[in-house]
């Protein structure tokens, strides 16, 4: 079983090169999959990818922060393999993009090795990562979509009225079996091997064990932390600020072209040790929960998110959140408010200006309008966004996988009937 990974590369943009880079990325963004610079559609390892420019800014103390170029991708397999593929695919395209950045090899010194080294050196770890279904590869997503299409066409061409469900399923299986390009589907997808299962179990034990070991220290500290946090919450300001018209229109102009949309949001972390520890601790819990609990199609009930990540930037002074989701921003935000409000509050209330929370998880996103304004205000333009399957929702992908799984597993009559309703 191949696992998924969030790759994040952060490079500082050279002074006075921002405008040129913006022009380049805007052009690429018109056709993220096929553009000449970096044809992301040719990557076999990437489910999603994006490039974002974060303008130069100041931190909360007024210190300058350089402009950043951020590359993000959600990939199958190892980082090394993905970077290899990227460098092999478009060495000169990478040069065009990253030569706008500090530290990129000079023109004479650009080789496969130096390019790869630059990308590797500028890769940062995410604080937390969410994968809709751990282990489902791009190949599998695409193959299973093709399988469903073929079965649908097969069903359209026949008349199954009054036919017993088992007989319908048998006919579908015969059809798939007879098609050389679909025969793979009669076998289930690869399951994790013993080593992988052991690693997962060990991984799942890691955080609980760590917490148990630290309990003698943590338990006495927790009430103090909770009170300090409550004091902070009472003091923190939560101004009601609407996003500006220009900002809103620029974002709306790139939304709702396919079944999916990207979301990228950036904000400063609230200052002070309490907030730093809270944000870091919460992200560890989120990462753990996403990996070991919500790893199969649903993030506490939200079934529309393909991939998401939270990454600290600028020595943890700022955080960027990036996701690929189904439907409109309005429905995405409503899902947040209705279903994962507590988790959102725990993470995002460490960001400056978040609607007022109490005890970390209460309030906050429940202030509907303030929360929607906060998200929109912090959203940044995703200049280049690529999806390897922009016409499929996460629900579609999951249903396709169930259709495939149903070809090989033994079934009772009730299961057969239910399986046929997936088509």
């Amino acid at each position: 079983m191949t696992e998924q990974r969030a790759v994040t590369i952060v490079a500082d943009v050279k002074p006075r090169r921002g405008a040129s880079l913006t022009r380049l990325l805007t052009k690429m963004g018109e056709d993220a999959a096929g553009n000449e610079v970096l044809p992301l559609g040719e990557l076999a390892s990437a489910h999603f990818a994006r490039l974002i420019i974060l303008d130069a800014a100041k931190d909360l103390d007024g210190n300058p922060l350089p402009a950043h170029l951020i590359y993000m991708s959600d990939i199958d397999g190892s980082l090394e393999n993905h970077l290899e593929e990227l460098v092999d695919l478009a060495p000169t395209g990478l040069d065009q993009v990253f030569s706008h950045c500090q530290g990129y090899p000079e023109a004479g010194a650009r080789t496969h090795m130096t390019r790869t080294a630059f990308l590797t050196d500028h890769t940062v770890n995410a604080g937390a990562t969410y994968v809709n279904t751990v282990g489902r590869t791009l190949r599998q997503v695409r193959d299973e979509a093709r399988l469903r299409e073929a079965i649908q066409t097969f069903l359209d061409s026949g008349d199954f009225e009054g036919v017993e469900p088992e007989a319908v399923r048998a006919a579908i299986r015969r059809f798939v079996q007879a098609r050389e390009d679909l025969r793979w589907a009669t076998e289930p997808p690869p399951a994790p091997g013993p080593a992988q299962r052991a690693a997962t179990i060990l991984g799942a034990l890691g955080l609980p064990l760590e917490l148990a070991a630290l309990a003698p220290v943590l338990l006495p500290v927790l009430p103090v932390w909770a009170l300090l946090l409550r004091l902070h919450e009472a003091r923190d300001s939560s101004p009601t600020i609407e996003p500006t018209d220009a900002h809103d229109r620029a974002l709306a102009a790139i939304e709702d072209f396919t079944a999916q949309n990207p979301f990228s949001a950036l904000g400063p972390r609230k200052p002070g040790l309490v907030r730093l520890l809270t944000a870091s601790g919460v992200l560890r819990l989120v990462d753990y929960g996403a990996r070991y609990i919500f790893n199969n199609g649903s993030l506490t009930g939200v079934k529309t998110i393909h991939f998401a990540r939270w990454v600290f930037l600028d020595d943890r002074r700022r955080m960027i959140f990036a996701s690929s989701y189904d439907g409109s921003l309005e429905s995405y935000m409503d899902d947040f408010i209705n279903q994962v409000w507590w988790g959102l509050n725990a993470v995002f209330s460490n960001g400056v200006g978040f609607p007022k929370t109490s005890w970390l998880v209460l309030g906050g996103s429940q202030h509907e309008q303030e929360f929607k304004d906060f998200l929109r205000r912090h959203e940044v333009l995703t200049q280049v966004w690529y999806s390897a399957y922009s016409d499929l929702t996460a629900l579609n992908i999951d249903n396709n996988a169930q259709i495939r799984a149903g070809l090989s597993s033994p079934m009772s009559r009730a299961e057969t009937e239910a399986w046929l309703q997936r088509l």
């Binding site: 439907g327 409109s328 202030h367 509907e368 929702t393």
Partner: protein, 465 residues
């Protein structure tokens, strides 16, 4: 739930919020432009006294009025007041990215509209006139429709006939939410807080939807109510709401010709196929309660859910028009639960639509055939009232009605309203049937977002300096 804990100031809300004026079947909508602001303000001030309110029984005729952002601006509403309205309202229905939200693309794109497009004459107001008889409508038009000397001119006139049946022949307008504190009591799961349909009241989040709250200096005559939240500001939004008006042309001959042909391919008869697309039978019986026949005892049945009786869509298809525009308890989180219903309540509309154009019954429609282009235009003036255009009307339109992905589907935009090429899946045993490549039956021909102010807000607008 304490449905009537807050009572609505019905005498300050326009009557359309409380009633579709079913007993006033004749109507005319006048789309107006402001030519002279001083005169227009005087007209509005006078009109405010005769505008029909939501209080008491309406006899014989009704008059309501609503404004676009340009109308508010031309009457002299200050920028601070305009800025308090929602962005969707300020940007308008034809803002380019909105075409993707609403499905106004290809033949339905604003550039082809009869009114309301950026290239055509600006719409500033709509005057909504209703009457019990044609003679009464003439009187009403005589009294309110003669706009000489008012500083207004008529940009476009819309016929607005009330009929229980829309042009495809289906009983329409059955499902309406009960507004807590205003409507007569309905079942709890269909009773929605007033703030979903009127600004200045608590909504289904227990909060107040953003609305224009003015510095008291902008209301020296103290015409507006005070913000009930206690900010000391004057509430221009209170008892007002947003009105969505869309002219939706219905291609009746194509509809029946296509269904006749499609049902020939093993989909039962055309009426049964149409009923599956609608989710109700022509007389109104919901398929989820009566999947096989148009049960005359169920023509107005509306107190039902989907999940428990029909999770899989075997009675009423998942993609049916009524199921996707009001999914009741079908959707996450926890389909079938009160939570699912409480979230559905955040996406409701008061529908006040009216018909236009001559009737074309099914036999006549079939005689014309799909290619014998039906040059007469007929359709629905869709009207929806809601406090949040983005969370209610636009959400319903984009996430539910026009989405090919609604509730786990793949390529099934609304079977009645969707773009050409869509599929309609009929969940069945042993497995589904599909109607592929449906053509467009409905086209958008005009539209705008309006603000339907409270009576005091109308007086304030009429008294602007």
């Amino acid at each position: 739930m304490a449905a009537t804990s807050v009572s609505v100031e019905a005498d300050d809300a326009q009557g359309l919020v409380a009633s579709a004026y079913g007993h006033l079947p004749h109507g005319r909508f006048l789309l107006l432009g402001v030519a002279d602001r001083t005169a227009a303000r005087g007209w509005l001030r006078d009109l405010a006294a005769s505008v029909t309110t939501a209080a008491g029984r309406v006899e014989g005729q009704a008059v309501n009025v609503a404004l676009t952002p340009s109308g508010l601006e031309k009457l002299g509403a200050p920028p601070a007041a305009l800025a308090g309205f929602s962005r969707e309202f300020q940007d308008g229905m034809t803002e380019p990215s909105r075409g993707r939200t609403l499905g106004d693309s290809a033949d339905s794109a604003p550039q082809y509209w009869a009114w309301g497009s950026p290239d055509s004459a600006q719409i500033d107001l709509v005057l909504l006139l209703y009457a019990s008889t044609p003679a009464r409508l003439d009187q009403t038009l005589e009294r309110h429709g003669d706009l000489r000397g008012t500083g207004l001119r008529v940009v476009h006139r819309l016929e607005a006939r009330r009929d229980d049946r829309e042009h495809f022949g289906f009983h329409d307008g059955i499902s309406q939410p009960a507004v807590a504190g205003l409507s007569k009591a309905g079942p709890a799961r269909d009773t929605v807080k007033a703030g979903e349909f009127l600004l200045g009241y608590e909504n289904e989040y227990g909060q107040f939807t953003a609305r224009p709250l003015l510095d008291p200096a902008l209301d020296p005559g103290r015409l507006l109510p005070l913000d009930v939240q206690g900010s000391g500001r004057h509430d221009l939004g209170r008892n007002g709401t947003y009105l969505v008006l869309r002219q939706l042309a219905q291609d009746v001959s194509r509809f029946w010709s296509h269904l006749e042909q499609a049902s020939g391919n093993g989909h039962g008869d055309a009426t049964a196929l149409a009923a599956r697309m609608v989710g109700r039978w022509p007389n109104g019986a919901p398929l989820v309660l009566s999947p096989e026949r148009d049960d005359p005892a169920l023509t107005t049945a509306n107190d039902f859910t989907y999940h428990e009786p029909d999770e899989l869509g075997l009675r009423c298809p998942i993609g049916a028009h009524v199921r996707r525009s009001h999914p009741r308890d079908s959707l996450d989180p926890r389909p079938g639960s009160d939570t699912s219903i409480s979230i559905d309540k955040r996406h409701r509309l008061l529908r006040r639509g009216r018909l236009y154009g001559p009737r074309l019954d099914r036999t006549a429609a079939l005689a014309r055939g799909a290619n014998n282009a039906d040059h007469e235009e007929r359709g629905l003036h869709f009207m929806g009232l809601c406090a949040s255009l983005s969370r209610q009307f636009e959400f319903i339109q984009h996430t539910w009605v026009m989405s090919p992905k609604f509730d786990g589907l793949y390529e099934d935009a609304d079977p009645l309203m969707g773009p050409p090429g869509r599929t309609f899946t009929i969940q069945s045993k042993p497995t589904r049937r599909r109607v592929k490549d449906l053509p467009a039956f409905v086209h958008t021909r005009g539209g705008a977002y309006f603000f339907l102010p409270g009576i005091r807000a109308l007086r304030w607008l009429g008294s602007l300096p």
